[in-house]
Structures are given as C-alpha cells and as structure tokens.
C-alpha cells in the first residue's frame, strides 16, 4: 500500500514515538492519583496525549492525499551541526579566540559559494568583533586563550 500524505504520516509517527518514549521513561516515576499527583502523573498523561495525536495524524494520512516528503540536502545541516559541536568541544581547552575562528571556518563549508579568503577574513573579523563586544564591553567571563 502506498502512503498518500507522506509528511503527515512521518510527522505522526515521530510524535507517536516521542510520546511512547516519554511514557516508557515516566514508568520509573511514582504516578500518584489525580488528587495527589506524583512526579510521573503529568508526563504519563502528556506522553499518552502526544502518542494519540500522532496516531490521529498518521492514520488518516495513509488514505488522504497530501504533500510528499521534501527533498533533503545533508550538506548544510551536517556542516553547521559539526561546527557547533567542534566549538563546544574546543571552547574551554583552546579558549574563545581559537574556537570561534574554527567555528566560522567550519561553517563556511556549508555554503559552496564561500571562498577560502572570505572564510578566513570573516573568522578574523567576527572573532575580533565578538571579543570587543562580549568580553570587553559586556564583560562576559570568556576565556580568550588556551589554558596553559
């Protein structure tokens, strides 16, 4: 059988899965009763509601026509997420200046039009600007240089 409304279907499946996952985890918390709720009460009901809404989306989507899944371009997504992860990992050991410059250079690869010169120039400019505004003007406690 072919699923007719693919976005709605997968969206419903996603919500259903998240709802069930929360319900499964919430089993570890005391439920209590409505008059005296335990920590598991709200999450359990909310998880159930979300799973139900997921079904309400997914099931009709099998027969009702709708949008097909949009195409995916993995390059920008993966490059930018990698850039942030690298920044997070380097920020404390290498200091802000190095981490920020690397963030900009890595993210530059997300756009095929970016030229290497632009990327490096941007890295220098934005890092200097951020140091000026965030560290000197606003006094954020950022470590600028590697901790030796």
């Amino acid at each position: 059988m072919r699923i007719r409304s693919q976005t709605d279907f997968w969206c419903g499946v996603l919500f259903f899965a998240i709802g069930i996952a929360f319900m499964v985890m919430a089993r570890n918390y005391r439920l209590g009763i409505a008059a005296r709720m335990g920590p598991g009460f709200f999450p359990m009901w909310l998880g159930g509601t979300l799973a139900g809404l997921g079904l309400l989306l997914a099931v009709p989507a099998i027969v009702r026509s709708g949008a097909t899944l949009p195409s995916l371009q993995p390059r920008p997504l993966l490059t930018i997420l990698t850039g942030i992860v690298v920044f997070a990992l380097l920020l404390q050991p290498l200091g802000f200046v190095a981490a920020a410059a690397i963030l900009i250079v890595v993210c530059g690869f997300a756009d095929p039009d970016m030229r290497p010169v632009e990327s490096i120039g941007l890295a220098i400019l934005l890092t200097a600007f951020s140091v000026g505004v965030f560290v000197i003007l606003l006094g954020l406690p950022l470590n600028l240089w590697p901790n030796l």
């Binding site: 005391r30 920590p39 003007l137 006094g139 406690p141 901790n147």
Partner: protein, 328 residues
C-alpha cells in the same frame, strides 16, 4: 564603563608582567598577578551571587586585579563546585558557595561528585543570615507554641511555604517536625520570593524563609515573625525570639555564604586571601550591604569555618535520614 574597567585591568596586567621577575620566591608573593575568578554555582542574583560580587569588587580595589564572577548554575550546585575542583589549585579560581552545597546536598543525595575534606579548602565565611518562621498576619497565632498547638490539632493540614523541596528551609522545617513531634503540610515553591509572597497573600498560612526574602513583607506587616532559626536573636529586631527560646532547643540553623579554594592551593595564598577578606568584612559599608538582607559578616579562621560546616552537615544528615528527605 565596562570599557574603562577593561582598560584599567589591561594596564594593571601589563604592570604586573613588568614586575614578573622581581617576585617568585614564596607562592604568596606577587599573588595575584592575573585576574581571579570566583565561581558561583547559581544564576545571577540572590545572596551568594551578591556576596561574591561585593567581595570581588573590594578585592579588586585592594589588589588592583580584576575579579570576575562566573555563574555556573545547575544540578543543585554540582556543576559549579565540580568546575572549581577541576580548576588548577593556584588561587586564581575560587568558589562562593552556601549552606546548600556543603550542608544540605551531602545530607539528601546518596552520592555527590565532591567532598569537602577531599576536594576543597575553606577560606572563610562571608555572610551569615537567619531564617525565619512567619505566619500571615491574619492568622491568629502569636508564638511558636501556638503554631505547634495548631499543627497538633490538625496534623498534616497547616501549610508552610518553603523555597523548594530539599532546600535548607525545607530541612529545617522537617527538623522542627521531628523535634516538636508535629506534622506541617510542606508546600514547596520555586525560590524564596514566590514562597514568601504566597504566605503574605494568604495562600499558605505559614512560611519558612531566609530573613532577606521575608523582609519586604515583614516591613509591610503582611507577615509576622514567630522566631528566628539562629542560636542568637537577630540584630534586625531584637524582639523576635529564637526557636531555642520558643521550646524547640534542638533546632539551630542559618544560611551562610562562604569562600572556598580547590584543595592544594598553597597555604600562604589561603592566608593572604583570608587576611584580606577578614579586613574587607570589617568595612562599615560592606557590613551595611549584608545587613540589608539580615546578614552579619563572617570572617572566622579557615579551620574554624571548616569545622563549623562539618558539624552542621552532620546534624542535617541526621534530620534528613530521620525524616526521610531524599530525592525520589
């Protein structure tokens, strides 16, 4: 303003760099020659953060070095304390913590990622303030014994607001329950201000809060103080009795903020910090700032401070075990 402060500190760092070779014999000579950071395991605001900023400002005035307050909130204070003990033990990273991290956490959590004796060197107590037991002014209760009588008559129904489950105020409430053999209804809030506001508005008849948070409502007459939790009466109003005087002699507790260094900081540096801070705590303007929140400056020697914390932690541990206070 920030720019000026930044420029000033650059100039100072440059000055210190020029003097680099002259000193280097004792670890305390030439300390500090770069900015010091004080880690606060909370979001900005509140007694601990304010204490850190007051002390930081005075230290940087006296030593000509920038003192940066770095807020590392989260995880019941675990994150900030762990960040401190992982930092180099050179005296350039300090921790401003309070009763919660060293009195309450060891009492209620089965395992915590730090240990006072193993990981930290206490420097001194900065500021200590009483907690208060209050009732809404429309509640016809004038003393602690009347409040206890009410609780005995209707067990488990007389609500007392606190700033949260597992807060020092909650533990002291449980302590009162145990000592007086009563059962109050614990109504937790998200922080001191909403808790005391609830009692002031009559949502909950009684409340247990830091004196500083309760002060606006005490002054406006919306709540009435029945007792302070400290061993001595408070300078704010000498007419408030202590719990000890009110027939619960077991319970004595306070909220303090204190300064710590990671274990392994050379003793001369600890002494230098202690000496300077003890002087700062004598300044009238600093005393006034703490007095606004009902606090009195600390300033005891490091070893005295350490011993006091250990004693407090032991009694809170007993309370938590007996009352069964633990995260589920």
């Amino acid at each position: 303003m920030r720019i000026l402060m930044g420029l000033a500190s650059v100039a100072m760092v440059a000055g210190c760099l020029l003097n680099w070779d002259a000193h280097a014999q004792s670890p305390a000579d030439g300390y500090p020659n770069k900015p010091i950071r004080i880690i606060v395991p909370f979001a900005p605001g509140g007694i601990v953060d304010t204490s850190a900023r007051v002390i930081g400002q005075e230290l940087s005035k006296r030593w000509g070095q920038q003192v940066v307050v770095e807020n590392r909130p989260g995880g019941n204070g675990f994150i900030g304390v762990v960040a401190t003990i992982k930092s180099p033990a050179d005296g350039y990273t300090l921790l401003m913590a309070h009763t919660g991290e060293f009195g309450v956490n060891p009492a209620i959590f089965p395992d915590i990622p730090y240990d006072l004796d193993r990981d930290l060197a206490p420097i001194t107590m900065i500021n200590e303030a009483p907690m208060v037991v209050v009732v809404n002014s429309n509640v016809p209760v004038k003393t602690i014994s009347e409040l206890l009588a009410l609780a005995r008559a209707k067990p488990g129904t007389v609500g007392v607001s606190t700033p949260g489950t597992g807060s020092i105020n909650h533990l002291v409430l449980e302590w009162m329950n145990l000592a007086a053999g009563v059962k109050f209804l614990h109504v937790p809030y998200r922080g001191g201000a909403p808790a005391i506001t609830a009692t002031a508005g009559g949502e909950v008849p009684a409340g247990k809060a830091a004196l500083g948070s309760a002060m606006p409502h005490i002054k406006s007459g919306r709540v009435r103080v029945l007792a302070v939790t400290t061993a001595e009466r408070s300078f704010v109003d000498q007419s408030w009795p202590t719990l000890i005087e009110s027939g619960i002699p077991e319970v004595r507790s306070s909220i303090w903020a204190g300064l710590f260094a990671p274990k392994g900081v050379p003793q001369p540096i600890i002494e230098k910090l202690y000496a300077e801070i003890a002087k700062i705590l004598q300044q009238p303007d600093v005393k006034e700032r703490f007095a606004a929140g009902g606090g009195v400056p600390g300033g005891m020697r490091p070893e005295v401070f350490g011993a006091a914390i250990r004693q407090e932690a032991a009694s809170l541990k007993k309370v938590a075990t007996a009352a069964g206070v633990k995260p589920e």
